[in-house]
Symmetry: C2
Subunit: 193 residues, 2 copies
């Protein structure tokens, strides 16, 4: 049930249409909690049904209307409740590691490709996290600016610092994976020498 | 669809009843690909239906029978095909990191508890992985012994080494999480000082 809380947290930055919300989700929460757009729209309608968010209709052009969603007081309470609630540790489900357990069944050249791909993916991710950390530290992202605009000045440091901490953590994770793949490549060399 | 391949890989060690398979799963693959027992039994019946595993009936006491599952040649081919197939990078879904992005909504004492729990969980995991690595290196686990017993001597080193590599990787991941939680605790101190 983390998606709903990610959506509530996004709307805390300010009202957004479903389209804007999905776009902002892709640029922020999606990186730590992936969800496809249809799931976002479904959850948004549920949140509206439960009264945690409300929709205001605004004209779009001369004939159409667009719906802008905003956080209700109940939604804000639910967001705070969720953030404070301790999270049960997650069970691991890692297909790459599971497969690597049985690499003796594959050709060494194939094993090498597995590890090279793992390294390439996490090198790309590392760049992405480092870029995001730099943007947050410079307070450049649109979402962060909207949040800071209506937050008390004394909270600004914490708002920025926790986000930076999460994405620095993602960068460290990527470095751990890159090193694991490197050691895997060394292992294939050793086993085939 | 990784569960089915984890089950095929377990049966490569030798025939097992559904009960033994579930027990061995808990002690090995479950650590990198969590699955509850009912899901294991369902998948096992599917594998039997598709002819990837076969069941031999053996007497249990004087009146009952037990079914021992073994890998069919088609199952072995499917296992090798899967191990060689490159894995698409997994999408991240991490509730703890998602929540930490919004820690400014929680009391500092609560944030501290979050990080302390994260650290405690991964310290426990780290011990578990280190114990498992030591057991694999000593070739002490029952599953590994069954595998080695019917594998060619020249493959023994790779069979052990890839499993050790995976669990050393899990240990490194746990260390990365412990350090992240430590830095998180330092951050709370800094924000509240």
């Amino acid at each position: 049930m983390s998606l709903r809380h990610a959506l509530l947290a996004l709307l805390e930055a300010g009202p957004m249409t479903g389209y804007e919300l999905a776009k902002q989700f892709d640029q922020s929460a999606d990186r730590v909690w992936h969800a496809p757009h249809p799931q976002i729209y479904t959850e948004l309608r549920k949140l509206e049904g439960e009264g945690l968010v409300a929709a205001d209709e605004q004209p779009r052009g001369t004939k159409a209307v667009k719906r802008a969603y905003r956080l209700n007081p109940d939604g804000e309470r639910e967001l705070r409740r969720w953030v404070s609630e301790l999270e049960a540790p997650q069970q691991v489900r890692d297909a790459a590691y599971l497969k690597a357990t049985y690499f003796e069944y594959a050709e060494p050249a194939t094993v090498r490709r597995h590890f090279e791909r793992h390294r390439a993916h996490h090198e790309e991710q590392l760049q992405r996290w480092e870029r995001h950390v730099a943007q947050l530290q410079a307070r450049e992202t649109e979402l962060l600016q909207r949040r800071l605009a209506h937050a008390s000045e004394s909270d600004h440091e914490a708002i920025v610092a926790y986000k930076v901490h999460v994405y620095q953590g993602m960068a460290e994770r990527a470095r751990t994976e890159i090193e694991w793949a490197e050691r895997g490549l060394d292992l294939v060399d050793k086993l085939t020498s």
